[in-house]
Symmetry: C2
């Protein structure tokens, strides 16, 4: 059963969240979105560059996540050329740039954890 509620709910573009932490995690959460955003932090990148820099992601997943990030207004997509081979550049929007401090915090803590508990291979 659902546990009792009390309100500090927030609604953004039709979706209802129990708190703003939940909202933030919906926008940049999941397995790949933060990773993509992080790779776009310092410079715009092409689709294939992103793929090469993100070991383990499949073409399909990369494509879907990019589309979602674009829908949520975090990144923009720009196409160069008409006929294949074309070139597509992804970059952070201003809204996307607003989460750079957060991306840095994620990386910072991730690095800390890796330093203490992980091994680089």
């Amino acid at each position: 059963m659902r546990i009792e509620c009390q309100s500090d709910l927030v609604k953004v573009s039709g979706k209802l969240y129990p708190c703003t932490v939940s909202l933030a995690m919906d926008l940049i959460g999941g397995k790949w979105k933060a990773v993509i955003l992080y790779h776009l932090k310092d410079s715009a990148k092409r689709y294939s560059e992103l793929g090469k820099e993100m070991p383990g992601v499949t073409e399909r997943t990369l494509s879907l996540q990019l589309k979602q990030l674009e829908e949520d207004g975090l990144i923009s997509r720009q196409v160069y050329g008409e006929k294949p081979p074309i070139k597509v550049i992804y970059r952070l929007t201003d809204f996307g740039k607003s989460c750079i401090p957060l991306l840095d915090a994620i990386l910072g803590w991730g690095n800390q954890v890796a330093a203490q508990k992980g091994e680089f291979v």
Copy 2:
């Protein structure tokens, strides 16, 4: 097909991650984990308190996520009493406390987004 790899892989407790951002998101990502951690940030809480403060979560999901956070060493679980009604207190471990700056960054950005694009209900 899988896109080509290049290494700055990191391994933590048997799991392989393409980068430390990915590692961090595995630890605190998903729909509820960051929310739980955030609610434990300032004080230890009982199971039922967490449930009341997190509208929308089900008992099962709360229980499963707490267990995962405990397994990953982010929170600790302490039981008071033998016979029902018992009392169970969850609190951040030192490791869990290490991500408080990150939790604040998540909340901060979430608040920013909500202020710009959301409405509180």
